[in-house]
């Protein structure tokens, strides 16, 4: 009996070594956005007057005030996908090949093999911040307060109408309304990024040593690996009024607290299937997709094409 038991235990462990020969794999590499993405970025106020231009915030006289090339909050989510190929001619920018058009109002589905995002929209506790805050861009509450006050120049306003000026107030509001007890439970701030932990599921950008690109390590998990497939994507840059085309304020979880009732916002679910619906003016697009020869090779994806609309 003892021999049988040992044999059964041995057999059960044997399953751990079984090679399933799946065609899925994790792809790891870097995405790079040129410094020009922020140097050429422009924000305007409701009257149409530029408030960010040429890499600086501007005062009332149009004079530069604050260098914004280190403001990662201005980089929206970066969408990266693995596609059969990328073609010219469908849109005014390189776009993945598409399947048949089944609906006159939509382009064909790109049928991606896999994909991920570098940063995603996360609800940052205030209605005003729905679809405005991306994970991996801010280290703490104060950083977000300063960003919206000094860069976007639309200070955060609490439900009682007062301006949010302190990180502790922000944190207390989050803990109260989101029913959490630690910052670790909130994805939109990250004061301890795991810089060198594979796989890179918490990617964040930093300026490279040459000062030419914003670079992030990223892992595309569980992609179907097809030799010759191409990695393509785009950066959803904010509009001139700091809105994002890939986020829907009318979707997501529902906030219901006394007189405050609204959806918290969510990304559209088919961004990689129908990127042509979402890439808009000012977005940075991959012009030369990375061709995958092996899942073991680290990729580099450069966003070099600015779509002017």
């Amino acid at each position: 009996m003892r021999i049988i038991s040992i044999g059964l235990v041995g057999l059960s462990f044997g399953g751990c070594a079984f090679e399933e020969n799946l065609r899925q794999g994790d792809l790891t590499g870097k995405v790079r956005i040129p410094l020009e993405a922020l140097e050429s970025f422009q924000l305007i106020d409701p009257d149409g007057t530029p408030i960010v231009d040429g890499g600086f915030t501007l005062d009332e006289d149009g004079q530069p005030v604050l260098d914004i090339t280190d403001q990662m909050g201005l980089l929206g989510p970066v969408y990266v996908g693995a596609f059969p190929s990328v073609e010219d001619g469908h849109f005014d920018y390189p776009h993945p090949e598409m399947g048949p058009i089944l609906d006159a109002d939509k382009p064909g589905d790109t049928y991606p093999y896999g994909g991920t995002t570098v940063g995603r929209f996360d609800y940052a506790c205030y209605e005003q911040l729905r679809c405005k805050v991306v994970t991996g861009r801010h280290s703490d509450y104060g950083d977000i307060i300063d960003f919206f006050s000094d860069v976007v120049q639309e200070p955060i306003i609490a439900p009682d109408g007062t301006e949010v000026t302190s990180g502790s107030t922000f944190q207390e509001h989050c803990f109260t309304t989101e029913y959490v007890t630690s910052n670790d439970e909130l994805s939109f701030i990250d004061d301890d990024p795991e810089e060198d932990v594979l796989p890179y599921f918490k990617p964040y950008f930093k300026l490279n040593s040459e000062g030419t690109h914003y670079v992030a390590d990223v892992t595309i998990p569980h992609a179907l690996v097809v030799d010759g497939m191409e990695l393509w994507g785009w950066v959803d840059m904010p509009s001139a009024r700091y809105n994002f085309s890939t986020c829907n304020e009318s979707e997501g979880a529902y906030h219901y607290r006394y007189t405050e009732q609204y959806y918290k916002g969510s990304s559209y679910p088919d961004l990689l299937n129908f990127p042509g619906l979402y890439v808009d003016e000012g977005d940075w697009v991959v012009e030369d997709p990375y061709v995958v020869d092996s899942a073991d090779n680290e990729f580099v994806i450069d966003f070099t094409f600015k779509f002017e609309g």
């Binding site: 190929s85 399947g99 048949p100 089944l102 679910p269």
Partner: protein
């Protein structure tokens, strides 16, 4: 130790004496498992109302028998707009004019082992949104099992009586352009699946069906209702006027009591949000061997539409589920009260509603 292992092993084998054959009827020579209906009209709701002399503009419903059991006309109308014809005469006149049926009632048998069963029919796109509604027999509800004394807030007396499951069937609704349909009408049930091969040679399965039913979860658009419950979907035929569509009623389960699945189906010239899609739209779909609504099933439907299932079951327990599963107090006050506040008895409830089977 050996004894313990033996007991565990033998107890595992005990499950092998169940084969669930009792839940699947035998195929029948009289009722084919796959049928082709032909083409149905995309019918206006007011046309349906005219057959039953119902006021135009109100919610329509369909009915298989426009004459009663002895051939006397139902739904006579003195309304001059309806030409003074009976419902059956108006129906016959309409079919003669259009050449297509405005709705269909039919019966399906169990498909042979390993084969999908079901019915197919076609309709022609109008260029607008149309609503397809199918109702398999008969009526289903989940019994409210909360204790009426200790958990009164959760107890719903309307559903206190259990349903009789064995008279219920289930059809799943699919539809799409006929050019994408892969089945052979009347021979083999198919689907609307196509395949796309990308430039890397990878094959992707594409759903060309256009009949999407939303589920309870956000984003779920391939849901289907359960037994005896209507299924419906809006199909947008914009820019496809004149294009032929195929509808598939895929047999999910056939009633165990008689091995025949009766159903009613219609395609209405409206989006589904503008019509009644409930059990109350397709009436009398539980048919006997002569194609006539089975005794009292129409009253069961009427009771559900009127929200008086408990009273109906208490008055007609042979139409519902296990009496032993009913709370002993349910039928004491299920009949409600009359206008004077006096408790109704079975007899007075039957007289006032006409929903007792023995009242025919």
């Amino acid at each position: 130790m050996f004894g313990l292992v033996s007991v565990i092993f033998l107890s595992g084998l005990s499950g092998c004496d169940r084969n669930a054959k009792g839940l699947v009827p035998m195929p029948s020579e009289d009722y084919p498992g796959v049928i082709e209906i032909g083409e149905l009209e995309v019918v206006d709701a007011d046309t349906l109302n005219s057959f039953i002399a119902k006021q135009q503009g109100t919610l329509a419903y369909i009915q298989p028998n426009l004459e009663d059991s002895v051939g006397d006309p139902k739904w006579n109308s003195e309304n001059p707009d309806l030409d003074g014809l009976t419902g059956q005469e108006r129906y016959d006149q309409h079919v003669a004019e259009t050449g297509t049926l405005p709705y269909y009632y039919g019966q399906l048998g169990q498909a042979k082992d390993g084969k999908r069963g079901g019915a197919t029919f076609t309709f022609t796109g109008t260029g607008d949104e149309v609503c397809i509604v199918v109702d398999p027999e008969t009526v289903f509800w989940s019994q409210s099992v909360a204790d009426p004394v200790t958990n009164a807030s959760a107890y719903n007396p309307v559903y206190g009586y259990p349903d009789f499951y064995n008279d219920d069937g289930d059809l799943d609704l699919f539809a799409g352009m006929s050019s994408y349909y892969t089945g052979s009408p009347g021979v083999e049930i198919g689907d609307f699946t196509g395949f796309y091969t990308d430039s890397q040679g990878e094959v992707v399965e594409i759903e060309y069906g256009e009949c999407f039913q939303t589920g309870s979860q956000t984003g779920m658009d391939n849901a289907h209702a359960g037994r005896a419950t209507t299924e419906y979907c809006t199909v947008d035929t914009d820019q496809k006027a004149g294009v032929q569509y195929t509808v598939v009623l895929d047999t999910f389960s056939v009633p165990v009591d008689d091995g025949v699945l009766s159903f009613g189906v219609a395609v209405v010239n409206e989006r589904c949000a503008r019509i009644d899609k409930s059990e109350c739209f397709v009436r009398g779909e539980s048919l006997d061997e002569n194609g006539v609504t089975k005794s009292c099933t129409d009253k069961l439907e009427d009771a559900q539409c009127a929200g008086s299932l408990a009273a109906f079951c208490c008055a007609n327990p042979e139409m519902c589920g296990d009496e032993d599963a009913v709370h002993p107090d349910l039928c004491l006050d299920a009949y409600g009260q009359d206008d004077d506040g006096d408790d109704l008895t079975r007899g007075s409830w039957c007289d006032s509603t006409g929903l007792c089977c023995d009242a025919d």
